[in-house]
């Protein structure tokens, strides 16, 4: 059974600081996703990582994937208040079944 673990689950940081969210998964997968969710809202796709060593950046967020370590990271650079949200990583089951297994999420609060 595929398991996905995120840490930390709660992250409070000051504006301007850097931090990293970690996502570990238990079995081989060929696709890893990062989503953002604002309170009461649905999931917004941030990144799709498809291969070992993949790195993607959008604004202050950068995601990377190490398939050998079964680890993805979401790095936040110079955080701003607007980044406050819950961030989920999700891993595809692979093959022809594309169902996603999600982590519990990281609740990020950026304080002025």
């Amino acid at each position: 059974e595929l398991k996905v673990e995120q840490n930390p689950l709660f992250l409070s940081m000051q504006e301007g600081k850097n931090y990293t969210i970690y996502c570990n998964y238990s079995t081989t997968s060929d696709r890893l996703y990062w989503y953002r969710q604002d309170p009461g809202k649905s999931l917004e796709s941030l990144f799709v990582l498809l291969s070992n060593g993949a790195v993607k950046q959008e604004g202050r967020l950068m995601a990377s994937l190490d398939t050998k370590a079964r680890l993805s990271t979401l790095h936040i650079t110079a955080a701003v208040h607007d980044l406050s949200a819950t961030y989920f990583c999700a891993v595809s089951g692979g093959g022809s079944n594309y169902k996603l297994t999600f982590g519990k999420g990281t609740l990020l609060t950026v304080n002025p």
Binding site: V4, R31, Y33, Y35, K41, S42, L43, S45, V48, L50, F88, A90, S92, S96, N97, Y98, K99, L100, T101, F102, G103, K104, G105
Partner: protein
């Protein structure tokens, strides 16, 4: 349509009642997924359709839950004899063949009282 549409956005029902939740995926998307998100948790997979058929229903918690997609577009998630533990946000997502991206709807918040 432009996005994945889910109706209703909110549903309050009494314990023991039957409910139907609707998902209208992006036009042309062949794959459709239902997930359930409890408060403070990540979404959990329920069922996956490829076209009209349920390719994987391993996430349905019990036989009170059933989903259909008769024409390969709109899907309905049906819950019989609702229980308070069924209260959650039910999310629908769709994707197109060969596309690794998923588009999620805004969800239906189900409250069983």
């Amino acid at each position: 349509g432009a996005g994945v549409s889910q109706t209703p956005s909110n549903k309050v029902t009494e314990k023991g009642k039957y409910v139907e939740l609707r998902c209208d995926p992006i036009s042309g998307h062949t794959a459709l997924y239902w997930y359930r998100q409890s408060l403070g948790q990540g979404p959990e997979f329920l069922i996956y359709f490829q076209g009209t058929g349920a390719a994987d229903d391993s996430g349905l918690p019990n036989d009170r839950f059933f989903a259909v997609r008769p024409e390969g577009s709109v899907s309905t998630l049906k819950i019989q004899r609702t229980e308070r533990g069924d209260s959650a946000v039910y999310l629908c997502a769709s994707s197109s063949q060969g596309n690794y991206g998923y588009t999620f709807g805004s969800g239906t918040r189900l409250t069983v009282v």
